[in-house]
């Protein structure tokens, strides 16, 4: 019997998974969420994503897709008649993909060191992360969202910053996205988090804080 419907394999604290949920919710697509224990991955996850074995994985009528940004573009194309996620214009699409790649390949690696850095080292890595985010911020100039008047692809890709960076800031004592350093991004955080579909898929902040505090302590005492 052919498998029907939409499944998302995820992990509650994963920002990459939330991208997929935001895309599905914007399209009004019903889905089943399967929460994975990444230390003990399910047979299904390994069967659906044998190459990288990572979450998120979207399974649509039995067919699996991996890599969050690839999944988001798939969702946009598979439910073409619903809310448009990618920009319509080819040049705008290229720019959106460019910044998404820049964020994942440059800004994310710049942000990770903040988690365990302290003192002077923390100041240095925060500054480098801010430089990266400042470059990204230029894509927001004059707009309400990266997608223009409405949430689009780049908002979905970057949106995890709005919920996770404040958590990291609280856990590490670092100040990254401030009104002084990144005014446009800070303002966008507030607008983005006010969107109903966005709020509906966010993991509990207190739970995220507790998990990140514990993880940081573990890493610093190692």
């Amino acid at each position: 019997m052919a498998e029907k419907g939409v499944k998302v394999f995820g992990m509650w604290a994963s920002p990459m998974v939330v991208r997929v949920e935001w895309a599905l919710r914007l399209k009004g697509v019903e889905y089943e969420y399967v929460d994975e224990d990444l230390a003990n991955k399910s047979a299904d996850l390994l069967r659906y994503n044998p190459v990288t074995k990572k979450v998120p994985v979207l399974v649509h009528d039995g067919k699996p897709i991996a890599e969050s940004t690839i999944i988001v573009e798939y969702i946009d194309e598979a439910w073409k008649g619903e809310y448009p996620i990618m920009p319509a214009d080819p040049y705008d699409r290229a720019q959106a993909r460019f910044w998404a790649r820049y964020a994942d390949e440059k800004c994310n690696p710049a942000l990770f060191p903040i988690f365990t850095a302290t003192g002077e080292a923390q100041r240095k890595v925060v500054h480098e992360a801010q430089q990266c985010l400042k470059t990204l911020e230029t894509a927001l100039e004059g707009k309400k969202f990266f997608g223009g008047d409405d949430v689009g692809y780049l908002d979905i890709v970057l949106g995890w910053y709005a919920h996770w960076l404040p958590v990291i800031e609280e856990v590490t004592g670092a100040s990254v996205v401030t009104d002084e350093a990144l005014p446009l991004m800070k303002a966008w955080f507030d607008r983005f988090l006010a969107v109903d579909v966005v709020k509906a898929a966010l993991p509990d902040k207190d739970k995220l804080l507790a998990a990140n505090k514990a993880r940081r302590e573990q890493l610093l005492s190692a």
């Binding site: 190459v51 890599e67 690839i70 999944i71 798939y74 040049y91 699409r93 290229a94 460019f98």
Partner: protein, 239 residues
């Protein structure tokens, strides 16, 4: 190669590139598959032009596509842009079906993420151990791609089936380096014994008109690799 306008909308296409770059190779292969005219601008990457620096201020790298003067950077993004901007030109590089597109994008990203990184480290790693570990990663990635070929090709000659497509272009850009590798390091990457499907695919892809004049000569790449390695160890020595 003189430009005669870029496809349907008459705006000029230029590629800022460098002959050894697998990423530049991809863009040119895609342009050829789509039968799009363009001007090929060869950059000296040790002395980048003002145009390149202005067109890609974020990364300052080739390839950059200029379409009517507007820059698009990152090879796979450029290839997707060409399909989006020239839907009626030559052949579409990506398939039409959303699921097939997602699978193609996955494997193209795999080439970037797993194969390319390992190849760079295998060549430029500062210690013998680093280079050996990276070489093992390269072989592992090629074996995975051999499996991907079976999955994607459906028994036909290209990743995309009967005709070349996105993954063919994504990996096709690397054929020059894959072929040159044993001249450079002694390790044979395209080997009919180890990955017969990839080996046959590389021959088939390289003989396409779209690939001719793009894939660099293995001897030239071997010389270029020596220069790269010398430059990098020279820089390390002076630190």
């Amino acid at each position: 190669m003189a430009a005669a306008g870029g496809g349907g909308d008459g705006r000029q296409l230029r590629v800022l590139g460098a002959w050894p770059s697998p990423f530049v190779n991809r863009v040119r292969m895609a342009l050829h598959l789509k039968e799009l005219e363009y001007e090929n601008v060869e950059e000296d990457i040790t002395n980048k032009s003002e145009l390149l620096l202005a067109s890609n201020p974020v990364h300052k790298k080739v390839p950059v596509l200029l379409h009517g003067g507007r820059p698009v950077a990152e090879s796979l993004i450029i290839v997707e842009y060409l399909d989006d901007a020239f839907p009626d030109a030559g052949r579409a590089v990506l398939p039409a079906d959303p699921y097939e597109r997602a699978v193609a994008r996955f494997w193209a990203a795999y080439v970037d993420g797993k194969l390319h990184g390992a190849m760079v480290m295998a060549l430029m790693g500062t210690t013998e151990e680093e280079r050996a570990a990276a070489t093992a990663d390269v072989f592992a990635a090629l074996e995975t791609l051999e499996g991907a070929f079976t999955e994607c090709s459906g028994g036909k000659g290209f990743f995309a089936g009967n005709a070349p497509g996105y993954v063919d272009v994504a990996l096709g850009g690397f054929i020059g380096w894959l072929r040159a590798w044993d001249k450079i390091t002694g390790a044979k990457l395209l080997d009919a014994g180890r990955t017969p499907l990839l080996d046959a695919w590389a021959e088939r892809f390289a003989s396409l008109d779209a690939a001719k004049g793009v894939i660099p000569d293995p001897d030239h790449l071997a010389e270029f690799a020596k220069v790269l390695q010398a430059r990098s160890s020279g820089a390390a020595a002076s630190n």
